[in-house]
Each structure stands twice: as C-alpha cells, then as structure tokens.
C-alpha cells in the first residue's frame, strides 16, 4: 500500500484552476521532490496533503487523497489529528515568538501532553534529531529569534518532529538559507527518511537530485512526469521535463 495516494485532483482558487487532474502516490519512508517553474502548483499540491488550503477562502477541490488508505477529505476526518500526523516545514523559518524550548514544546502542549518530563524528553530528542542540540543546549530559555536562519529552520523541523508525525512536508525549506545550512538540512532529510515519508518542494535541481528517491515535475498545474529521481534527471520521457531540468525553460 502506498503511504500517500492522490487521485484525479483538481483544485480551484475561486475561478482559477491551479491543479489539473493530478494523480500521485508516494511510498512509505521515501523522499519525493516536487519540482517545476514558479506558479505551477507545487505548494498548492503540498498544502493539500495536510489540508492547509482549507484556510483559504473560496477554494474547491475534487478528487481524493488517501493517507494510509484513509481519505483525508472525508467529512468526518479530524483535521487537527491529520495535521499531527502530517508535519509541515515552511519556506521561511517561522518560529513562534517564544523561547527555543517553548517552540518545540508547543505542538506537544496543544496536543494535550501535560506531563513535564515527557515534554522535556521529547523536546530534547527532537532537537537532537535535527542536530541542533549542541548549538542550543545552553540557551533553551532564549528567544528562538536569537538563532540564525539555518538554526531557526532546523528548530522548525524539530518542532514538527516533536509531535511524531509519519509524514513531513517541506516547502522549499532551504531557499532562505546559506549553503552550509542547506547541506546540513539535506543531510538531515537523508537521516529522517528512515522514519518518515517526506515530500519536499524545491527549486534547486541539485538538491532534488541529492535528497529524493522520486521526483514529480509540475507544469501549469499539471503533473507532467513522475518517476525515479535518477530517471527524471538522466532520461526523462517528456520534452518539457528535459527542458526544465536542463535550464532551457521559462
């Protein structure tokens, strides 16, 4: 069974259709890269997977998305629980205006975990998971804004991991970061793959090549090609894909 399975998705912002009949499935513990020119619908698709688009007024979706075989757009889906299972990391680091510790503890607290010891353990484990522990262990009480951009982004990943999701969505997680921070996060993604199913949007072809197992190429709201990353980058079957990854595009 596929971890994520989307079938025939059409998505509309008001009158404008942003996704056309997209069908895409991802295996458990794999990394899938979503690539394509700006405005092609990558973020839109990604945000459908944790129902983040619900927040936008006047949108409509047809088709279905199954996670672990469950239709997440079914009437009686608990969206909060869904989002607990499907973590998300955003393009720009967006820590809360709270301490480093509180940032990671936030998800635990809103999910009803009150035991101080459990919270502390999970916070520490998550920060260790993103290889940030050494850098912040002495200033957990300090504001998260005192961290560098790269550290903030890793903190945001730790925050997402703390509630133990099984899927991690990342929307251009390194686009605001320097090369060193970027490579740290790429290493991290490689590590996380063992436990999580990861979907990552990226504009960086090398990055897609380095971190992902499969790659989906979107163009103008359509899924043009979806295959093993190696195949997409060496012998794509579609002309548009080839043009895009070789940079002869837009």
């Amino acid at each position: 069974m596929q971890k994520i399975e989307s079938k025939g998705i059409n998505f509309y912002y008001g009158e404008t259709q942003a996704l056309h009949n997209v069908s895409l499935s991802m295996k458990e513990n794999s990394v899938t890269a979503l690539i394509g020119p700006s405005g092609c619908g990558k973020s839109t698709y990604l945000r459908l997977l944790n129902r983040m688009n619900d927040l936008i007024d006047n949108t409509k979706m047809t088709g279905s998305i199954l996670i672990d075989g469950q239709d997440i757009y079914e009437k009686n889906t608990n969206v909060d629980d869904l989002r607990k299972n499907v973590g998300m990391v955003f393009q720009k680091p967006n820590p809360f205006p709270k301490s480093i510790f509180e940032n990671v503890a936030y998800g635990l607290k809103v999910n009803g975990i009150t035991d101080k010891k459990t919270i502390e353990e999970r916070v520490i484990t998550s920060i260790e998971q993103v290889a940030l522990w050494g850098e912040v262990k002495d200033k957990l009480k300090k504001s998260a804004f005192e961290l560098s951009g790269g550290q903030q982004q890793r903190l945001c990943i730790a925050r997402a991991l703390a509630i133990q999701p099984s899927i991690l969505l990342m929307d251009e997680p390194t686009s605001a970061l320097d090369p060193i921070s970027t490579s740290k996060i790429e290493e991290l993604i490689y590590e996380l793959k063992k436990q999580y199913t990861i979907v990552i949007v990226t504009h960086n072809m090398q990055q897609a090549g380095r971190v992902s197992d499969t790659t989906a190429f979107f163009y103008m709201g359509e899924l043009i090609e979806y295959d093993k990353t190696k195949t997409i980058f060496t012998k794509p079957s579609q002309k548009q894909t080839e043009d895009y990854i070789t940079g002869r595009f837009g």
Binding site: G87, M88, N94, F96, Y106, G107, F145
Partner: protein
C-alpha cells in the same frame, strides 16, 4: 523632531498650569473670604478643622465637650440670627450697631459659635476668633463630602468623586473588554470576508458619534431599563454610566484589537495549525499573544475615553456626590463634576481652584494607567524580539 518638541513643551506647560492652579486649594482656608468664625472668649478651643465646623453647623456636634472643650451646649449664630435678639431700632437704620450688638451677644453667650462678616467685627471685639486650618491634601483626598460652596465652610472631599470615576470606568471596562475582544476575534478570525467588510466600517462609524448622542441613548433606553430590571427608585446609576461608556469604548477597543489581530503573520497561524493546534487554540495561543500590545492599547484608549468622558456620564449617572457602595446607586465622576461646576465657580476662588485640583487628580489617574500599560506592553514586545 521640532514639532514633537513643541508638543511636549505645550503639554508640560498645560500640566504645569493645571497643577499650579490646583495647588492653590491647599494654600487657602476653606472659609469664605471676608468672613470669620468666633467663639466666647472663655472657650478653650482655638482651632477647628473644616470638617468639625461642618459637623457643628449640621448639628451633628452639639456640645463643646465633644471637641474637647467645656461641657457646654453649642449655640449656633449666623449674622441674620441677630434680628431674633435685637429689634430693628437697636440695630440701627443702616445696621450701624450690628458690630456692637454681635459683640454683645457673643460676650453673653458662653456656648456660642458665630459666623459673620469681617465688617461686622467690632473694633474691641470681646469674643475669640477661631483659627481655621487650611485644607490638607490628605483631607482633600480622603474627605467623602463634596460641598464646595457650603456655608460657613466649604467641604472639599474628593474621595467620593474619585471612587465614582473609578467605579464607572472599571465597570465600563469590565463590560467592554470581553465583548470587544470577542467581537475583534470574531471579525478577524471567524467572520467571512464579506461579513467583515460590512461590519468593520459600521463599527468604525460608531466611534464618530458625539458623546451627547450616547448620553441621550443612555437616558432614553438604558436608564429606564436599569430602573425596571433592578426595581430601583431611579435608573440614573453608576451602572448606567458604565454601560454607556462601555458602548462608547467598544468601537475603539474592537477596531484597534482587530487591527492588531490581523497583523498576526499568517506564517505564525499556519505554523500553529500545522502542528495540530485547533483554530481556537491558535487564536488563544498565537493570535492573542501576538496582538497583546495592540489589544492593551485598544483597552487603554477605551479606558482613557471612559475615564475622561464627561457628557454622557453627566447625563446618566445621577451626579450624586456620595460614596458609591454599589453601581446601582447614583454617583458622580470627576469629569462630570468639573463640567457641571466650572461655569458657576468664581474665577480664582476656592471652588474654582478645587476643580483644577480635581483635574490634576484625573490627570494623575490617566497618567498612572498609561504608565502601567507602557510597562505591560513593553514586557510583551520584549519577548517578541
């Protein structure tokens, strides 16, 4: 830079003037100028507090021993009482024998306390003029009686007015804050865009209505309502003032808090929701903390309007200068007092200056509130950066 300096200087000058004028109260005796109080020469009492004089003339104190004097009933005497003791011929056609007769009367009445004009004081007056203490700041603040034009001695206790102001304002904020906050949350987080686009301008419009109109509304709608709901003899109560003020403060509180809530970055809200927080948890844990300083600012401006508000309150609170023990009784606020009395107070007189002193108190109250807010919001914003 220059304009802000000019503004600051102007404000400082205004405050300075206010305080100079207000401080005049404490350098004056509360007895009307040109009048004096006298007792029998053998009376051991030399000095009285303003409040004691009042109690004597109100006949709450009827024997000198209550004041530490001899056991002697107090006999009140005012200038006009002289006609009870002497005939018109004895007093003279042009009252030329007034001084002599008053002197005579005081001399033969051991328990007397006489209040009369300086010009009727005989050259060789045999009585003893009483010293009256100046009004002390403490008395001014703690006195519960506000009779600034009372004879023979003005009563300048502002405690009832301060309490009246605080009660009404506090009641108003208690009503307005939860409602305003709820409305702001509804507008910024829950209402559909269309609903919001209709409601927001309407609410903003409410802020522009003159306070007299709110006063009328209060008088016609709220006052009778309170009277019938609580079965009171009069509906003009502190509660009516609080409600009217709350209604007046609401647009300010709603608009400012709502604006603040809408500045909550979308990224913050999405971060919270993406972690499985519910909509309400996100409002409570992200939106409200993020806009806390804006909400406080809205509340303060609301309170500011409430505390300084004059007209509407004047119209619905009944204006009784008595210590409020419940919001269901008439009371009187500082601004209403100033507005109602300044017109009839003689320029530069004691009453006039006491109203300025009231103004100083009002200024200090609002100043303290603002400082408090500054403290609170600073602590809030410190966390943000």
């Amino acid at each position: 830079m220059l304009s802000s300096a000019a503004t600051s200087i102007t404000v400082v000058l205004i405050v300075f003037f206010l305080f100079i004028e207000g401080a005049g109260v404490f350098s004056k005796k509360p007895i009307e100028e040109g009048f004096l109080l006298a007792v029998h020469a053998s009376n051991p009492i030399n000095k009285l507090e303003p409040s004691q004089v009042k109690d004597i003339f109100d006949q709450k104190i009827t024997n000198w021993k209550q004041l530490g004097g001899k056991n002697e009933p107090i006999v009140l005497f005012r200038t006009e009482d002289i006609t009870e003791f002497y005939s018109e011929e004895e007093l003279g056609e042009n009252f030329e024998y007034f001084p002599a007769k008053i002197d005579e009367y005081v001399s033969k009445t051991p328990g007397v306390i006489a209040f009369f004009s300086d010009k009727y004081k005989a050259k060789d007056f045999h009585g003893k003029e009483l010293e009256i203490n100046k009004i002390k700041i403490f008395e001014f603040l703690s006195g519960e009686e506000w009779f600034p034009t009372a004879q023979p001695i003005a009563q300048m206790g502002v405690k009832a007015l301060i309490y009246g102001t605080l009660w009404v304002s506090f009641g108003a904020i208690l009503l307005a804050l939860p409602i305003g906050l709820a409305a702001a949350i509804y507008l910024s987080e829950i209402a559909k865009k269309r609903t919001r686009n209709i409601l927001k301008p309407l609410i903003e419009l409410l802020a522009g209505i003159p306070s007299v109109v709110y006063g009328f509304f209060g008088l016609v709608v709220i006052v009778p309502l309170i009277q019938s709901v609580f079965g009171l003899p009069v509906g003009e109560t502190g509660l009516a003032g609080s409600i009217v003020l709350a209604i007046m403060a609401l647009p300010t509180i709603i608009t400012i808090s709502e604006d603040a809530m809408r500045t909550t970055p979308r990224a913050m809200k999405e971060a919270s929701l993406a972690l499985g927080a519910s909509h309400w948890q996100t409002i409570y844990k992200v939106v409200i903390p993020y806009s806390a300083s804006g909400i406080t600012a809205g509340a303060i401006l609301g309170i500011g309007r409430a505390i300084g508000e004059t007209m509407a309150v004047l119209m619905v609170t009944g204006n009784a200068a008595i210590m409020p023990h419940t919001l269901l009784a008439p009371l009187r606020t500082i601004p209403a007092t100033i507005a109602a009395e300044l017109g009839e107070a003689a320029n530069g007189g004691l009453h006039y200056q006491s109203l300025f002193a009231l103004g100083c108190i009002l200024f200090l109250i609002t100043f303290c509130i603002n400082m408090l807010v500054e403290l609170v919001t600073n602590r809030g914003s410190h966390k943000k950066h």
